[in-house]
Structures are given as structure tokens and as C-alpha cells.
Symmetry: C2
Subunit: 309 residues, 2 copies
């Protein structure tokens, strides 16, 4: 009997998960995405992956969530700004026992998912990719994914292990953890430093890291995030500065996803990054003036698209 | 016997001073500017002002400082980023007794002038204008100018009063003060909040003031600047927040000068605004994390012009 998995949001990251899982004979993959040309291409020609792995996988894709059968697992990979409408459209798929894992940026997505489904898994993923054309995704950087139960939902750890096992068999490296907050906050703190600074200065990641003024700002933003994590009792999974440095040593120019959003005038994920650090800082009494300033500036920049100078 | 005045930097603000003074029969005005088309137009057709006042004045303009005779007074109105080369070109004009007044943005210009001329006057000016075409400047907003001796130069107060009297007779409103630091710091603190936020968010001034996120950031930046001024023993000349509000109530959309610089990819005056607040904060032991972050981001943005994303 095959396991059914629904990928909610089949962009670059969702496609990597979808295509890998679809290679397993005992897994049936359904992908939900609003981008109809991508959906049509997947159904007609399969989902092609190239780069860190090269293959084409066959799976079901649709923009109509009512077409998707009941699934035991979900993997949510939309932009954080689309989590709420995406889960509202798809929640019926997971029934009373399905477990849904967020592999999105920032923190706060699991809280939204838990308002709609029974079991939620906290995930943090490091692979990177980009859409080359409809039906074809570039697998730019392979990397690990960390998963653990989202604490308020009392999600059985067994479900985390089941999903991790499927993904590991499919070729995605997943580490199941009892407490996955450390990995998530390490990536959050990395993102909340590099993303707004890149978006506000229009600097690619290596330039922003190497320039002394912005490099110092990275460090000061990271220090605030670390103080909040500490106050929450979260032990970080490594040093966010190592992620900054790793990215700066990569070949070519890489633009932070928030810079890509800003250049395309798309709403950013700042509420789930700097906004979340500020909110948790308030709850724990830790001052976060620099993260608040980044949130304020990005909100201002988003506003300028409807009220230009 | 006529008084000779040299306007160093005859852009929008310099032109307002030059044209007003040139209406006085006992004043001979020489304007120095590197923009040759503007210089040529002034010499051929006079300098036309329209808006808050409408007239055409006749004066001498040149891009060759060696053509300018010895002058008793100078008014420096270049961008702060051009103060050093401008005074290096013109310092011979002022001889051993000339007094040179900065009416530029930010703080730090007087220090540069004092390395080259005997007497320096600290000025702060509120009129606004823009170049309509070569030889023609729009006088957008009339306003007061505050002048006082730049303390380290022991400039005789009598010189401040003489220059103020000339300008008041010409129609520019000038208030001479024994200590002009309060007016300068009030405008500095206003500029150091509204300028970088406008430049980073691409918001016009009213939008940035009214949007709650950026409006709050204005207030937090102002509070840091006020703390530094207090530590320096400077009594502010009014509330910088009133300047923010006054600007937001003006008709039409106004873009902060730093936003105009960023849109034109011109080096900004951030070193003389947020950079100066950070430096004086260090000297007085007052923390200025938000002003430092603004300085860091603007430096990053300037860097992106030579190393784009």
C-alpha cells in the first residue's frame, strides 16, 4: 500500500521534495500549486530536476485542491506570506490523522498550520533551487533538512520518523529530532540578518558580507537573534555566522530571497523573519532594536510600491 | 565701496543666496560652480528665481576660481561630499580676513573649512529649491537661516552680524546667534532620521511619516540624536519632530535629498548626517545603534552601484 504525500506549494523547494519522493514506488505524490503553467508542464512531461541531481519524476499536479485525495503527509513549501491561504485550500486533504510539515523560511508558519490541521512538523531545509522554466527546476545547492514535532500539537514523534525515512530513501537528507527549534532558529537568525540587509542595499550576499559596514550589521543583527533564542531556552544548531561565511564563499553572485522579492516587488517574508524575532523578543523581554528597524524599513519599502516617491 | 561675496557651490541653495545678494547695489556677487552650463546661462541671461520670489539677478559666475577677486565673505553651499575640493579650489579668495559660512546639510563641514580659511561661520538654512534648468532655480520653500561663529576659529561675532545684515537686506531671513549649534543640530537630527529612511524605503516624506512603521523609526532615530546633543551640552532649537510634521503637511510629494541622491546614484551626505551622530555619540559615550545601522545600510547601497546584485 502506498503512502500519499501532498506538496503544498510546488515552487523550487517544493519541487525538489516532490520529485525526489515521486521516485519511490511506494509513494504517491500530489503537488498543489497556483502556478498553472508549471502544473500543466508537470502533468504533461513530468517534473525535471537538474543540477545537484538530474532526473525527471512523474507525479500528479493540480491548482484545484478538491482534486487531491486524502494524504497521510503534507509538505508545505509556499512563501511564508502564502501559508494561510494555501492551508485553507488544502486542509481537507489531511483528515484527522495527517501530519503536515513546514519546510518554509522563518518562524510562525507552524502556528498557522496548527490552526487548520491536527499534526504539524517543524521543518528547516537548506537545499536551494530555482525555477528554470515551467516543469523544470534547477537544484542549486544540496543540503540537510531538520524535522521535529511542532510542540503545541503533540505530534507523535513516530510521524516525524516516518516522513524522515521516506525522504531519506528518496535521496533528500533529513535528520529527525525531538526538538527541531535549534536548527530552525539558526537558519532564522541567518536569514533575518542577510535578507533585509541585502534587500535594502541591493548587494549580493558576498559583497554584503565582505563590505565592513554591512558585515558589521550582520553581526549585530545575529547577536540580537541569539539573545532571543537564549531567552527562549533554544540551543542553536551551530553558529549563524558560519552560514553567512559559507554563503559568501560560494561561487557566483547570490541574491538573498528577500532581495529577489524586492526586485520583483513581491511581498517579502519579513514578518516571519525580523518581525518574528521582534515579537519573541517582546515576549521574553529581550531588546531587538536593529531587527525592529529592519522590519520597519522593509515594510516601508513594500509600501512604496503602492505609493511611489 | 561694495562688499564682495563669493558663493561656493551655486546649485539650488547657493543660487537662492547668490541671486538675493546680487540685488543689493553695494554687494558684488561671484558664484563658483563646476556645472558649466549653469555658469554660462547665469553670465548670459542672469540668474532667474521663481516660486516663493520671482526675479532675475545679474552676477558673475565661473568654474575657474582663479578668476574670482578677493572676497570678504564666502557662502559654501555645495553637497557636503564636495566641501573639501570646493574650498581647496577657492580658499585663496578669502585672504587672511575673509569669513566663510557653511549653509550645508549635516555637521562636519565647518571643520573642513577651518582647515583652509581663517574665519568660519556655522550656518543652517531651511529654504528649499531645485534647479529648473541652467540659469533658473525654483524657490520651493522660503525659510530662516541661523548663523553663529564656528567656535574653534574664534570668528568675531561682528562678522556674523555683518553677513546677516547683508542677507536680511537682500530678502533672505537670517538670525545671527552667539551659539548656532542648536539650530544646526535640530536640522541634523531631522535630516538623519528622514533622509536615510526615505532613501532606503523609496518613500516620499509624507508617506514615510504617516506609515506607522517608518514613522516610529523616525522617532527612535530622533531620540538617539537628541541624546547625543544633550551630552554635548547643545540646547536644540525646537523639536525635530515638528520639522518632520511640517514637511509631511506640505503640499505635493517631497523626496528627501538623500533619496534624490540614491535615485541618481550620487554619493550621499550620510557621513555628515548619521555618520556624524555616530562619531559624536562615540566621543560622548552615547549609544547610537540605529544611526549606525542607517549609516551602514546607506554605505552598502552606495557600494552596490559599483558591485551590483
Amino acid at each position: 500500500m502506498s503512502v500519499k504525500v501532498c506538496i503544498v506549494g510546488c515552487g523550487a523547494i517544493g519541487s525538489l521534495f516532490a520529485a525526489h519522493l515521486a521516485r519511490l514506488e511506494d509513494v504517491e505524490v500530489h503537488a498543489y500549486d497556483v502556478y498553472q503553467e508549471h502544473v500543466r508542464a508537470i502533468n504533461e512531461r513530468g517534473l525535471r530536476i537538474s543540477g545537484a541531481a538530474d532526473f525527471t519524476a512523474h507525479l500528479h499536479a493540480t491548482s484545484d485542491a478538491s482534486q487531491i485525495p486524502c494524504c497521510g503527509f503534507g509538505i508545505v513549501a509556499t512563501k511564508s506570506t502564502h501559508t494561510r491561504p494555501a492551508i485553507e485550500q488544502t486542509k481537507h486533504i489531511f483528515g484527522p490523522t495527517g501530519a503536515v510539515c513546514s519546510v518554509q523560511n522563518g518562524v510562525g508558519n507552524e502556528e498557522i498550520l496548527a490552526q487548520h490541521v491536527q499534526y504539524v512538523i517543524r521543518g528547516t531545509t537548506f537545499p536551494a533551487g530555482h525555477l528554470i522554466e515551467p516543469g523544470h527546476v534547477g537544484f542549486d545547492i544540496s543540503g540537510d533538512t531538520w524535522m521535529g514535532p511542532f510542540e503545541p500539537t503533540n505530534t507523535p514523534y513516530d510521524l516525524v520518523e516516518q516522513l524522515s525515512a521516506l525522504l531519506n530513501r528518496s535521496g533528500m537528507r533529513v535528520i529527525p529530532l525531538k526538538d527541531a527549534r535549534g536548527a530552525q532558529w539558526t537558519k532564522l537568525i541567518f536569514n533575518a540578518s542577510t535578507n533585509p540587509v541585502g534587500a535594502l542595499t541591493l548587494l549580493h550576499h558576498r559583497a554584503a558580507t565582505r563590505l565592513s559596514s554591512t558585515g558589521m550589521l550582520f553581526n549585530d543583527l545575529i547577536a540580537e537573534g541569539e539573545a532571543v533564542a537564549k531567552a527562549l531556552g533554544i540551543e542553536l544548531h551551530g553558529d549563524p555566522r558560519a552560514l553567512v561565511e559559507k554563503g559568501a564563499n560560494a561561487a557566483g553572485k547570490h541574491n538573498a530571497s528577500m532581495l529577489q522579492d524586492v526586485l520583483a516587488k513581491r511581498q517579502t517574508e519579513v514578518d516571519f523573519m525580523n518581525g518574528a524575532i521582534v515579537e519573541w523578543g517582546k515576549k521574553t523581554g529581550v531588546p531587538t532594536p536593529l531587527n525592529r528597524a529592519m522590519w520597519q524599513l522593509i515594510k516601508g519599502l513594500e509600501h512604496s510600491w503602492t505609493d511611489p516617491a
